[in-house]
Symmetry: C2
Subunit: 126 residues, 2 copies
């Protein structure tokens, strides 16, 4: 194959998810202005945290994600979206391995203002 003059291949979400298996580690798959599209595999419970400066969009690709909020749970299946508003505490959990797509400004940390040992910067995928 010769290199195209412009990157004209689409990004296949399933192909990107097949490139890694570690949990709760966000991979960047596309950029939109100063936002990043990321994917992650999750299973079990994350940590309660909030993002002080930004909303956070979750889209479930496969599996089932519960976004625990202080006043109730949001349960998302494949093809479902939820936007956690800026400053709202949340704790994602999944009883089965679940693949999610996330959208938020570049540099947003997975644990928000909570920090702690699960904090990881997003890693680009080829």
């Amino acid at each position: 194959m010769t290199a195209p003059t412009r990157k004209t291949a689409p990004v296949n979400i399933a192909d990107k998810l097949a490139q890694f298996s570690d949990l709760w580690s966000q991979r960047t798959i596309a950029a939109l202005n100063d936002y990043e599209v990321k994917v992650a595999k999750v299973h079990g419970e994350f940590v309660w945290h909030e993002h002080e400066d930004t909303d956070e969009l979750f889209l479930v690709v496969s599996g089932r994600l519960t976004i625990q909020l202080r006043d109730g749970d949001v349960v998302l299946g494949p093809g479902e979206i939820y936007v956690v508003p800026k400053g709202v505490e949340h704790c994602p959990k999944a009883d089965e391995e679940t693949a999610i797509l996330l959208l938020e400004p570049k540099g947003t940390l997975n644990t928000g203002s909570a920090g702690g040992p699960l904090t990881l910067a997003a890693v680009p995928l080829d």
Copy 2:
């Protein structure tokens, strides 16, 4: 049903798409900061246009979308993403009815700087 104190229902993309049938008309289904998540049904060819101030993200939900660029086509199937860079002319087309999800800043017009009779503001869905 009683009204929840917080909107805790996820947004189901397929349910939103089932609420309308007109082509090339964007419906807003979620907001993320000053960005909008929109869905549309497309069939046939749109118009060549560009967005001078923003990238534009396309995600195909069902069907097949060709994003014509001046130096080649990008063909997207379900679960595939392409981001048209700011200022790059493009013309979407679909040989079959195709459902897409779009993401861009609020107020971005579908025809960008081209204008013309197909120009429509996005309409919110309930």
